[in-house]
């Protein structure tokens, strides 16, 4: 099975250098960099790549902000029983089907739907149906548990005495947070960001179901499904691989890989 997987990966890498005969729609085993040239010269793919990376960054930042309070509460304030319940509450949604959760956001963001009613209530008459806002909210929702758990694990390991020492030495909360807590949990934050970033880069279902814009994932999906251009799709799959390789290398330099 391992061989199947590795062979598949290798074959994908090789396929990226083959090309599609446009007349017969057959893959020709002719080596060349033409797929990469096509991708590089297309302003659309450049825009899609930038948009996807921007979305992944936005989702990562949002999820880290949403994750911190609940992770802190679970790690440092809650009773042991409360902590167990809270952690269970965080992972419960992960057990329900991924598509079910995407569908929930399709319902919420639909025109005249619950979210639009809520926005109207606070005086904003705007529908985010089938927009990048809807995609952003859905991604934030889907990957939030993956952000909470590493942050929680990192916070749990911060010795309480260090925080007491900081406040005894006269630091206010903000300073303790900036100078003591964040540096100590930094590997956990990076670990969380690896999950949210990689998952956003590789997802093609959410943009199709709740948005209408193109991201790397659904572009590749369309290249295989609609265009049947496997070589070009394989070449484009290099992009998320390279981005994640750079990301992981940086994370390793920062010493964050041990925190996963």
């Amino acid at each position: 099975m391992l061989v199947v997987y590795l062979a598949s990966l290798a074959l994908m890498l090789v396929t990226a250098f083959w090309r599609l005969n446009e007349l017969s729609s057959q893959i020709e085993r002719v080596w060349g960099l033409q797929n990469f040239q096509t991708l590089w010269n297309s302003s659309a793919t450049r825009l899609i790549t930038v948009r996807t990376v921007g979305m992944a960054a936005a989702v990562t930042v949002t999820d880290l902000i949403l994750a911190f309070p609940i992770a802190y509460y679970a790690a440092r304030i809650a009773t042991p029983r409360g902590r167990n319940l809270l952690l269970l509450a965080v992972v419960m949604p992960l057990w329900s089907n991924y598509l079910v959760r995407v569908f929930a956001w399709r319902v919420i963001t639909s025109g005249d739907g619950p979210l639009q009613a809520l926005l109207k209530l606070i005086g904003i008459n705007y529908s985010i149906s089938a927009s990048n806002w809807a995609v952003w909210l859905t991604f934030c929702y889907l990957w939030l548990p993956f952000a909470i758990l590493p942050v929680y694990a990192a916070l749990e390991r911060v010795p309480g005495s260090l925080m007491e020492a900081s406040s005894d030495l006269g630091a206010h909360n903000g300073l303790t947070f900036r100078r003591v807590v964040v540096p100590l949990i930094f590997p956990g934050l990076v670990a969380a960001s690896i999950f949210t970033f990689s998952l956003t880069l590789g997802d093609y279902i959410t943009p199709v179901l709740v948005g209408k814009g193109f991201f790397i994932g659904n572009t590749i999906y369309n290249l295989v499904g609609l265009a049947s251009n496997l070589p070009l799709a394989a070449a484009y799959a290099f992009v998320p691989i390279v981005i994640m390789a750079i990301y992981l290398t940086l994370a390793r330099k920062l010493g964050a890989l041990e925190a996963i």
Partner: protein, 289 residues
Amino acid sequence: MESRLASALIRIGTGFTLLFLYIPLVILALYAFNKGITHAWPPDLWTTKWFSAALHDPDLPGALRNSVLAAIGATTIALLLGSLAAFAVHRFSFFGRDTISFVLVLPIALPGIVTAIALASSINYANIAFGLTLGLFTIIVGHATFCIVVVFNNVIARLRRTPTSFVEASMDLGADGWQTFRYVTFPALKTALVAGALLAFGLSFDEIVVTNFTAGATLTLPLWIFNNIRLPKQQPIVNAVALVLMLLSIIPVYFAQRLAGGVQAAQPTGEGSAAAATPVVPLEEAGPG
């Protein structure tokens, strides 16, 4: 420690995040009983007609059957190969051992679409070379690639926590290899195997990212949902099915809780939709090493 303001902010943030996690599921449940087919707020309650419509859907039973078969197949392969790989990596040191540990984590570290395209390439190749057609078999092979990883992680974590002195003691006391496995190794691994199987089954049952490229005309339950979500008239039926699936997902949570003996924690295992379905497992059981 925390000032009153900081503590209040943390509590508010915690409450907000909990609401963010659960309100979507509540809304989904409400709309399953909505009379209309749009999602206008407020929903027009109550009707159960979509549940009976789901029961009469012509494609749904077959899709459910395929999903169960694929999950059983992938879990079986994963249990066999995943635990064998864990034994090998744990017990013997051999050339390329670290590489195997690394490669086994790849399917969950790489973005889901990459695994999907990789498998699509080789199936395409196998199709040309020996006429392999897409179907249940290719679905199972695709699922097994990432199911192996979760079983491997669970088993190797347990093996590392089980002192080798147990096995040595058993051998010293005269047990042969099979008896040692039967009475010492296997009992120590039992819950790790069950946890791994639960995870693998859940991952396979929910998987869509890879399945979409390996299924051909064969329908699984997630594929049925994916196809029908985009048909406006079918949306209420999808909604009813979604509610049933959501309620069913409580079953593995219950078992995982029992396994964890009340002290539950979880560890994400990454990768596209596989990640999306990653459930509760005892902390020390999951994650690489």
